[in-house]
Amino acid sequence: MSQYQNSSNRATHDINHSRFLVDGRGLSKVFGTLTAVSPLDIAIKAGERVALVGPSGSGKSTILYILAGLIPPDSGDLFLDSKSTVGLQPGRELSESVGLIRQQLDLVPQLPVVQNVLAGRLGKWGLLRSLVSLFSARERDSVLATLSKLGIADKIDEPTSQLSGGEQQRVAIARLMLQAPKIILADEPVSSLDPARADEILRLLTGLADDIGGVMVASLHAPDLIREHFTRVIGLREGVLQFDIPSEELMPSVLEALYDLDQQPIPIS
């Protein structure tokens, strides 16, 4: 195991943790008899872009859902933007700090694009405003501005179900842009995309994180994309941390070993 991992385990936490936008200590989750995440420490500074890698079932998604507040961890403490998240339900408070985009996008297909984008504002809007907006969209100008940045301004009034996969992805990103959370989480954002599209989507997401001065944490598999768009790589296997290295140190042999079914030792220097 790497010394890098050890350093993130111990040394950092006794210092003032407010330097970290994400600061989780001893997070764990067990589903029935399956250990999804063994006690894990994870600390991420503003400006960092972290890639989670590992075979399926390695606990990547579970970690992202824990960070998003969608799954309560069995043990451990989680500070997001220096605020403890103990007992916080996903919703208003959490949505200012953290936003999640999943591979499935999770848009409401029957709503027009503008409403799906405006859903990013629901955490800031009152009830009345959000109900009125369903019939006559509020803040339409900012939606239009966001969509033009993404090149799909002309789709603003179309039913979301009629858009192509790539267009829907932009709608989901536009929603995230309106939500503007400090911590952007992405669960397999580029799987099943061709390389050019994957590159573009990651550029959009990291650009968004940079604009806000926040962090991005994403799970993905392609080493070249990781080296280009991320600063740090965390490798996981069966819920256990394998390595935590700067992305330029990610060698193909490392990934091969991580994904190897026979669980060979990982050649980390």
Partner: protein
């Protein structure tokens, strides 16, 4: 862009439709005669007494026995009706599916005519059939059974013809290349392939037939509906509740049976 493909239209259309439906509902309220008051003389008391009569319903052994007998009579008519409906509906459905006889214009024409006949049979509500049959033949159980069987045969026939048409052609081609006639293809190919679906749908309709049999009371057939009518006329609301609960239980039972059968057939 065509009407169905245009996204702008389809969203606007949905909103428009909601408005039209709400408008139609409000419009329909205007055709209610509100002047005379909606509750009639003495209705207010009944409105109060009726829900209270549920606590408790009539539970004397004699009345429970009557409820059981009435349930049995309802079941009998429903079962006879649905079996006759299957017996009539299956051949009509086979003809309507156009899978018998030589391919060609005649077969298509016969199938189209049969589909029209089936549509007519199911267009007329079972109780109207009952009223007509009773007027024609006089009051009898057979008239009620026939009245249930005809519209249900219309429904079953249509579904059966669709099921028979939807089977995959692969196995049928196998039979055809082995020299089977259309009748042979039907008996050895189509029928076995859809048999479980035919039964499954028949069972599904059985639950509806229970309700149909219960309202045959209206033309004078004995059963749960008949007893409910009598108890209502005597203003014995507690008895009405008991009978309604019998009907509820009966429908639940048949529903449970038919769901279990269909589930294990389709699993």
């Amino acid at each position: 862009m065509t009407w169905t493909n245009s996204p702008f239209r389809s969203l606007d259309a949905r909103r428009l439709l909601s408005l039209v439906l709400i408008g139609a509902f409000v419009w329909s309220l205007s055709s209610v005669d509100w002047r005379g008051g909606i509750v009639h003389t003495g209705g207010g008391d009944a409105l109060k007494d009726f829900p209270l009569a549920l606590f408790p319903p009539e539970l004397s052994p004699g009345f429970l026995k009557l409820g059981l007998i009435a349930s049995w009579q309802t079941v009998v008519h429903a079962v006879a009706g649905i079996t006759l409906a299957i017996i009539i509906g299956l051949p009509l459905g086979i003809i309507a599916s156009g899978s018998l006889g030589k391919p060609g214009r005649v077969r298509m024409l016969v199938a189209a005519v049969m589909r029209f006949i089936l549509a007519f049979m199911r267009s007329i509500h079972e109780l109207i059939w009952a009223v007509l049959f009773v007027a024609a033949f006089g009051l009898s159980s057979l008239a009620a059974v026939l009245a249930i069987a005809i519209p249900y045969a219309g429904i079953l026939g249509r579904i059966y013809s669709e099921l028979l048409n939807d089977v995959s052609e692969g196995p049928l081609d196998g039979l055809r290349s082995a020299g089977a006639s259309p009748a042979g293809v039907l008996i050895y190919g189509r029928m076995p392939m859809v048999l479980t679906d035919l039964l499954s749908y028949g069972f599904y309709r059985f639950e509806c037939a229970i309700r149909a049999a219960a309202i045959m009371s209206f033309v004078g057939i004995r059963g749960l509906g008949f007893e409910i009518q009598l108890s209502l006329h005597d203003l014995k609301f507690a008895e009405v509740w008991t009978l309604l609960l019998f009907l509820f239980g009966l429908v639940l039972l048949v529903d449970y049976w038919s769901t279990s059968v269909r589930r294990s057939l389709n699993s």
